[in-house]
């Protein structure tokens, strides 16, 4: 299958006045094929969010380029939908108008906006909450709205930066199933950053592990579990085996990053 996203030698260096520049991300390559669900694992501060933000166009790379359908990315755009870890619904808009935000930006007629918005709100199980304000919703419902808002724009790729990181464990597991179900039915392409190994294995068709800072992709594993996936597979031997391997890999990086901090300070 053709690559829809190509990351070519992307690196990111932060300049700090009076100190040696920090390399957050080493030259990184990544190819994402149509309908991939790629999860990126790594210790905190390894640059996985930086990589995602560069793909989103919210951060500028120091070198390299990102190609979406062969075209160079320069700044954010509606072709890459993003769901953030923090709750980023617009508090002055109702749930429905939040989902309409991107559609209105494209100048769609109001009637069509509402049809699309309601369809996606239905998909994420928020029928009946269309006229609520974000502050009247739980964290999980807010993230479901944020997902519907990103999907409504029909982006080429969905970028997710620990979107369930602030949710409690049970809600998070339900959200994983919800997202997986949507991915399976909508044939979306997803790039998903997390530090939760269960989440990475359960959701991903490919799992990548990033090294400690300066970050680079040190492992790229296809997940040998067919779709559709059911939550019960989290207790199967295949799942446990892959999880064990990834746990070792991530653990090594966490220790490395802690040692780096200790020697630095």
């Amino acid at each position: 299958m053709a690559n829809i996203l190509s990351v070519r030698g992307i690196s990111r260096t932060f300049e700090v006045a009076g100190r040696a520049p920090t390399v957050a991300l080493q030259a990184t390559d990544l190819d994402v094929a149509e309908n991939d669900f790629i999860t990126i694992l790594g210790p905190s501060g390894c640059g996985k969010s930086t990589l995602l933000r560069i793909v989103a166009g919210l951060d500028k790379q120091s070198s390299g380029e990102v190609l979406l359908d062969g075209k160079r990315i320069d700044g954010p755009g509606a072709d890459r939908g993003m769901v953030f870890q923090s709750y980023t619904l617009f508090p002055w808009l109702t749930v429905r108008d939040n989902v309409c935000f991107g559609l209105r930006e494209r100048g769609l007629p109001r009637q069509q906006q509402l049809e699309i918005a309601d369809a996606f709100l239905h998909k994420v199980g928020l029928r009946g909450f269309e006229s609520h304000y974000p502050k009247q919703l739980s964290g999980g419902m807010q993230q479901r709205t944020a997902l519907a808002r990103a999907l409504a724009n029909n982006p080429r790729i969905l970028l997710m930066d620990e979107p369930f990181g602030a949710l409690d464990h049970q809600t998070r597991e339900l959200m994983q199933e919800l997202l997986l179900g949507i991915w399976e039915s909508e044939k979306k392409t997803v790039l998903f950053v997390t530090h939760d190994i269960d989440e990475a294995v359960f959701m991903g068709s490919r799992v990548m592990v990033m090294s400690a800072r300066p970050g680079r992709i040190k492992l790229d594993r296809a997940v040998p579990i067919p779709h559709p996936r059911h939550y019960s597979l989290k207790t199967t031997p295949v799942f446990a085996e892959l999880k064990a391997e990834l746990t070792e890999q991530v653990r090594a990086e966490v220790i490395a990053s802690q040692n780096a901090t200790t020697t630095a300070s």
């Binding site: 993003m82 953030f84 923090s86 617009f90 508090p91 991107g102 930006e105």
Partner: protein, 259 residues
């Protein structure tokens, strides 16, 4: 009492009124009881009587109307210019860098100190009164609006961009609506300050208005009328404040959620 525990609405109103009652009671005891000479402080009953005379026989309602008109006129002119400028300063940092130092300097200039100059430039007519209000409120408004707009949550800005927002629609659809409730609060507060300037403006070189009545009464040592004038200002301020709050709540129902 537990810190930060809210009170029931009815208790809130009762407590609020109770202090007014207490205040008037202390005043009545001090004056009617003969503890304070009449020349210095009129008692509440005389104050109400002369207030009635002022309104019924001396056309004080017209003075009140004039003062309200001046405050609103000067304030609205200031707000109409301050709103776009403040939004532009908050949204576009070069514009802020250009204006901010001067506005910060100008807002410390006391509006009342401009009165002699303004009389020289604009005479003692309405233009001078409006100018005082304008100077007193414009710079405060600009600065506070710019800060409110500039404080927009960065993650909301980023979310808007990833949804395909252009730069101009970011200002229109994110920065302005997000800051709107705070801007409304700023308008409410600065309108309150505008009231203090109008009286000062009317104390000098005016032939009508609440401030003018107070100056006239000063010459006659009519403390009852002075106090009545002050109370009228207080009441108008209270009413406009309540109206403003109510309108804000109607306009921005989302802002009060989760507080």
């Amino acid at each position: 009492m537990k810190p930060l525990t809210p009170v029931a609405p009815a208790t809130r109103v009762t407590l609020g009124i109770a202090f007014f009652v207490l205040f008037v009671a202390v005043w009545a005891i001090a004056t009617l009881g003969g503890f304070v000479p009449k020349t210095f402080l009129a008692d509440p009953i005389t104050m109400v009587k002369s207030g009635y005379t002022l309104i019924a026989e001396m056309g004080f309602l017209k003075d009140i109307g004039m003062t309200v008109w001046r405050v609103l006129g000067g304030f609205i002119i200031a707000a109409l210019i301050a709103l776009p400028l403040g939004v532009l300063m908050g949204a576009y940092k070069p514009i802020e860098a250009f204006f901010e130092p001067f506005v910060s300097f100008a807002r410390y200039l006391p509006a009342s100190a401009f009165i002699p100059l303004l009389i020289l430039w604009a005479g003692i007519g309405e233009a001078q009164k409006l100018s005082v209000i304008f100077i007193g409120s414009f710079f405060q408004l600009v600065l506070m609006i710019a800060v409110a707009v500039g404080n927009t949550r960065r993650d909301l800005v980023e979310a808007a961009y990833t949804l395909g927002a252009s730069d101009s629609s970011l200002v229109k659809r994110v920065l302005i609506p997000g800051a709107a409730p705070e801007i409304a609060e700023i308008l409410r507060m600065v309108l309150g300050w505008a009231w203090t300037y109008v009286i000062v403006a009317e104390l000098i070189g005016a032939s009508s208005g609440i401030g003018h009545m107070i100056t006239d009464s000063q010459a006659l040592l009519a403390t009852d009328q002075i106090i009545f004038g002050i109370i009228v200002i207080g009441l108008i301020g209270l009413v406009s404040d309540l109206l403003f709050k109510r309108v804000n709540r109607q306009l921005f129902p989302w802002a009060a959620l989760g507080k």
